[in-house]
């Protein structure tokens, strides 16, 4: 796959995913990334990270994607239950 096309995918797919809803099991769990702190950026950040990893290794080695996905979920719940965006809001930055 040409790298320009790949980078385009990297940006377009998350947007489509937000608009259309992700396939399968991953659909419901994006709320994780903006958990509690309800922002618009939260789901977008989540989709970019999750689909970024998925595009990198999700097709070739799905079990490693699953492992990272699970570890990410557990780490966030245990150490950052308010989500990634809370890192910014905690410092007083305004996040839309």
């Amino acid at each position: 796959m040409p790298s320009a096309f790949r980078h385009a995918l990297f940006i377009v797919v998350p947007l489509l995913a937000v608009l259309a809803g992700l396939p399968g099991v991953y659909q419901n769990h994006l709320l994780l990334f903006n958990f509690v702190v309800a922002t618009i950026c939260g789901p977008i950040v989540g989709v970019v990270i999750l689909y970024g990893i998925y595009n990198l290794i999700g097709f070739t080695t799905p079990q490693y994607f699953q492992l990272i996905y699970g570890l990410l979920i557990m780490g966030l719940v245990l150490f950052l239950p308010a989500g990634l965006v809370s890192l910014a809001t905690r410092r007083g930055w305004h996040v839309p």
């Binding site: 509690v36 699953q66 699970g70 979920i73």
Partner: protein
């Protein structure tokens, strides 16, 4: 005759299904935490059975105590790692669902990485060879291959009967634990009122850790029989097992481990009737049962009050 077969097989499967669900219910009843990784521990129990059968080459029945002890220890350790952090959060019940979903993903991924995705099964005559060996040792005679066991004139595979009997024993032991031991009495106290138990000076964390360990141990014991009851097991088996055990637990009643015994038998009989008469619909059964029981009796068959959580 088909009906008799379906009913008896349903009761055998039902006893086994009770064992599948009872650990999940114990964990939920004591900790109010939803263990979405329950089915994955069941799957790991099946892999313990594979290990015992292939590496050691002995009767998979020996995997029952082994799996129970291993996952009892794993459960207690996991409890101390995960739960105190969870308790401090804003919404422990909701976060526990997500946390254990993550744990189930990790378990499935690690198992896939180490063992691959192929279907694994154990020869069904391997289970219970210990009985014929003991019989030969004690009474002499020739070792015979265990055939089907006859109940009401119908032949059933021996592993089904062995799994059902083991499940009965396990449920009886859970009953004894809950109603006859000191730790069990404390467990029931925590189950009915967590705050008051804490206020009376019960070490809630110790009781919960024990319940979590026992819950995982029971799941692993159920998993030992999974290759025989369902034919084969893959690492992806865990998710299905979780859904099935949820259906059983809700059918019985959430938070009442002994209700699960009834729920399991009802589920097993329904399962076998559907398998016999409408086999293409069998996969729908847990979901349909869940919807109906939630619509008609949200507290479950034995539930006295609707769960508030």
């Amino acid at each position: 005759m088909l009906l008799v077969y379906a009913l008896v097989a349903g009761v055998l499967f039902g006893l086994y299904f009770s064992l599948v669900g009872i650990g999940l219910n114990l964990v939920f009843g004591v900790m109010r935490i939803v263990n979405l990784a329950h089915g994955d521990f069941l799957m790991l129990g099946a892999f313990v059975a594979f290990g015992v059968a292939t590496l050691a080459g002995i009767d998979p029945l020996f995997a029952v105590p082994l799996a129970f002890v291993i996952f009892l220890v794993v459960g207690v350790l996991l409890y101390w790692v995960l739960v105190p952090r969870l308790r401090g959060s804003v919404n422990p019940e909701m976060l526990s669902i997500i946390l254990f979903f993550g744990l189930s993903q990790v378990i499935e991924a690690v198992t896939t990485i180490f063992f691959g995705t192929s279907e694994r099964s154990i020869q069904s005559r391997a289970l219970g060879t210990v009985f014929s060996t003991v019989k030969v040792r004690l009474f002499g005679g020739k070792p015979e291959v265990a055939g089907p066991i006859h109940i009401f004139g119908q032949g059933f595979p021996a592993p089904w009967v062995i799994a059902a009997v083991t499940s009965l024993v396990a449920i009886a032991l859970v009953y004894l634990y809950l109603y006859r031991t000191r730790l069990g009495t404390l467990t029931r106290a925590v189950m009915s009122r967590r705050d008051e138990a804490l206020a009376t000076g019960i070490d809630v964390d110790r009781v919960s850790a024990a319940a979590f360990g026992i819950g995982l141990g029971l799941a692993a014991v159920a998993g030992v029989f999974a290759p025989f009851m369902f034919g084969s097991v893959t690492p992806a088996f865990g998710a299905d097992a979780t859904v099935t055990s949820f259906a059983i637990v809700v059918l019985g009643s959430l938070g009442n481990p002994l209700g699960t015994a009834l729920g399991g038998v009802v589920y097993g009989v329904c399962y076998m009737l559907v398998q016999t008469y409408l086999s293409s619909w069998a996969d729908l059964l847990p979901y349909v049962l869940l919807i109906f029981i939630l619509l008609l009796r949200p507290s479950g068959l034995l539930g006295r009050r609707v769960r508030v959580a």
